[in-house]
Symmetry: C2
Subunit: 464 residues, 2 copies
């Protein structure tokens, strides 16, 4: 799918599935619609569950960061100053101290961490928040993918008493995000970002990317090891058991609504998305198929609904519309399972179960329908996860030359390219016009495609 | 309690109970701490439940409003322009169109409503969102009560096809908020705001106020009937069944984190708050009382915890601290019930149950502890609700002269004053230095204390 086709298709999908309305009158800002909000809430609740299980606690910091705090960490400000929004006036007055709309929250959180942390007994500190962040994007914006207001930014920040513990936290974050994306049926690659492209202020960064239908890699999560960069600047020190003081070691990691974009487009067909059953706001829709004015299908549909209610998120669509219109209506919203109930089903006490992903139909007895549904949903979610993973892997190839890499990328895929380091990586970017996302974590060794020296696998693709 | 004493006490309470940290380096901005976030989440979940039951659906609109939309409704802009924050720069550039940080969302939502609503079949529309709103307050700020970033603003907006239906919605909102405040054990007065003090752009406004320990009335909720004021400006029209078009009728209503402030201070003593059991993040704390190194209390405490877990939000405090310190620690956090478990309790298979509000102790058998706890919590919550209501009513008096009103207000209460209308109401404000909050809804008639003409009861008090 070309970039333009994808953009139009995705905008239409969002609006027709009632996820998001991209027509807000400011570039890069969108409105979450009720059904989209329910999906968002379920996605966030998976994330919150994983974070709480691993000892992270939720906080909420202010949006506005005073200029002097924002400017404290030199690298950080250089990374962000071209894309922050500035609040310069309040009421009729010019503000004495200009305020930044947070592009991310290091500089609002860390001055407070410095008040909270006194001793090693206060560590580790593991907090997260779910907030809007703002980036003054000058490139073309796209709903959920490149926004000026990112309305769903989950950022976690941790503080530790040693480098080892902080790096262990980086591994915990990677494992936690991996489980999160698995739950969402979103396949991913993990790379260590190249040194010239780490997060502003980090010692190193790991990134999760997934491949979208338009052939671009979408970064859906990042994990940063900050070392003592920020703790020195914001004076986050702790007293050790021996009475001496040391600057703390920090990490931070984030995901955004981009994961919602990925979960929508990776399981969509020409009609609309197919939501993983465990996340779908509506899991089952019952559509009565009337026949020559018989009332049986209607009353039987009610019975089916009554049976499933409280066990599944179920809707009985008894509107005065033709069944075909109803099918289309719910398919566009990605409802994973449809039950058709006509006179035949009513008399045989069965339902016709239709899976949204494969549009497969089968008759299922009413007796034991709950188990059949649970089983189908589990199966369906596993298949969705696997299919998406295979589709991504099918569009990636390990290559042994630059030409081959260019070809794969041109065909809408991404290449695994053995490279020796920054010099050759930069040349690859220049010659392919694509980006070196980073060294694949867990990837093997190989001879650099450009100079033949020993290298490692880097992922190269077009990125957002 | 004087205003200063109250302010200091409240700041200390918030920090010690780990609700909010007021030390953020910008005036009027605070940090929600993890325990505070849990309480906030429970309060919001009561609100969301009530809204969903009554057919409201959650949405999320952008924070940034372009200047031209913000300026469309004349009254509205006059009401807010002295207190909005302006975003004037993005990156290094001056913005072509300045952006306002929403002080409330009418002007961001209603242009979209105009796209969504075409026909009477699209009505009623009932949506809400929970967001941050921004007010450039120049007066003294106070955590949760007067903030520059109000981090928990629940605003509902509805659209209807007739004035009658919209005014019926106003009544639904009043009933819904009443139930909400009842659930929070926060007593309230409902007034119709005086015409010179309605919401900017509303035809009329109703307000909920509660009386704080410093003798000030805190407005904790408002409900506005907007009529067609905004629909005319934002072109929200619908086609009627007869094919003609009409401008829609609107309402909006909001509450903020001020209710959390109220629920904290209205049930607090010198040590800290007492949280209503149904809202408390931790409902029960078990404190083992060790005796001469016996291990019995410890293992028995574990048994008690095991028994309650999953049924109550329970914590066993087995830290190496003296019991008295633990009592104090949990009382400062408002945990409603403490179970003390010593050798005596272990051998008699009982627990000593202590209610946070009355500090009453009684022995309860382990067998049936669940029922005893549920019963105690229900009772406690009812008593808290009733006590707070009585305390407020005890500080209010219906008066028959201005002097009497002044005296009541001077003693930290509020007066019910019969007044004939705006002229005399203004004089009351001038002479008492207090505010006329509005005409009490459901209040009776009486002769105006100033001119003797027929009047109605107005509530007069010092307000935030």
């Amino acid at each position: 799918m070309s970039e333009d086709t994808f953009g139009e298709w995705f905008n239409r999908l969002l609006l027709e599935a009632e996820i998001m309305d991209p027509r807000y009158p400011v570039k890069g800002l969108c409105v979450w619609l009720p059904y989209g909000m329910e999906l968002r809430e379920r996605v966030l609740s998976v994330m919150r569950g994983l974070l709480r299980e691993t000892g992270h606690r939720e906080v909420l910091f202010p949006l506005l960061i005073p200029e002097d705090f924002f400017r404290k960490e030199g690298e950080h400000i250089r990374g962000f100053e071209n894309q922050v929004y500035w609040v310069t006036r309040g009421g009729g007055e010019e503000l004495d101290v200009k305020l930044v709309l947070r592009p991310t929250s290091e500089t609002s959180m860390y001055p407070m961490f410095s008040l909270w942390i006194r001793s090693h007994a206060d560590l580790p500190l593991k907090v997260f928040q779910v907030v809007s962040v703002f980036r003054y994007e000058t490139k073309m914006t796209k709903p959920m993918i490149r926004m000026r207001e990112v309305t769903t930014f989950k950022e976690a920040h941790t503080v530790h008493s040693s480098r080892e513990e902080a790096e262990e936290q980086v591994r915990e974050a990677v494992s936690l995000y991996s489980r999160f994306f698995d739950r969402l049926c979103v396949p991913y690659l993990i790379t260590r970002r190249p040194s010239w492209d780490t997060f502003a202020g980090a010692e190193y960064s790991l990134a999760f990317d997934t491949l979208l239908p338009d052939g671009r890699m979408l970064q859906i999560g990042t994990v940063h090891y900050l070392g003592q960069n920020f703790s020195r600047v914001f004076d986050i020190r702790f007293q050790k058991p021996d009475g001496t003081h040391e600057y703390a070691y920090q990490t931070c990691y984030g995901i955004s609504e981009r994961v919602v974009a990925a979960l929508l487009v990776l399981h969509a067909d020409e009609v609309g998305p197919c939501l993983p059953p465990s996340l779908a706001p509506i899991q089952v829709v019952i559509v009565p198929i009337p026949f020559k004015g018989e009332r049986e299908p209607e009353t039987y549909s009610e019975e089916v609904r009554g049976r499933l209610e409280g066990k599944f998120r179920v809707v009985l669509d008894s509107r005065d519309l033709r069944p075909g219109n109803k099918f289309y209506y719910w398919e566009r919203r990605g409802v994973p399972i449809r039950l058709e109930v006509g006179p035949r089903e009513a008399s045989s006490r069965t339902v016709t179960l239709v899976r949204r992903d494969r549009r497969e139909r089968r008759e299922v007895p009413l007796e034991g329908l709950e188990e059949a549904l649970s089983g189908t949903m589990r199966e369906m979610e596993e298949e969705m996860r696997k299919r998406a993973r295979e589709r991504m892997e099918g569009r990636m190839r390990e290559v042994s030359s630059l030409e081959e890499a260019g070809r794969i990328i041109g065909e809408g895929g991404a290449a695994r390219v053995p490279l020796c380091g920054e010099g050759c990586a930069r040349r690859v970017e220049e010659e392919t016009g694509a980006q070196v996302l980073g060294e694949e974590v867990g990837g093997k060794e190989g001879a650099c495609v450009l100079c033949g020296r020993p290298g490692r696998i880097f992922v190269v693709g077009r990125s957002y």
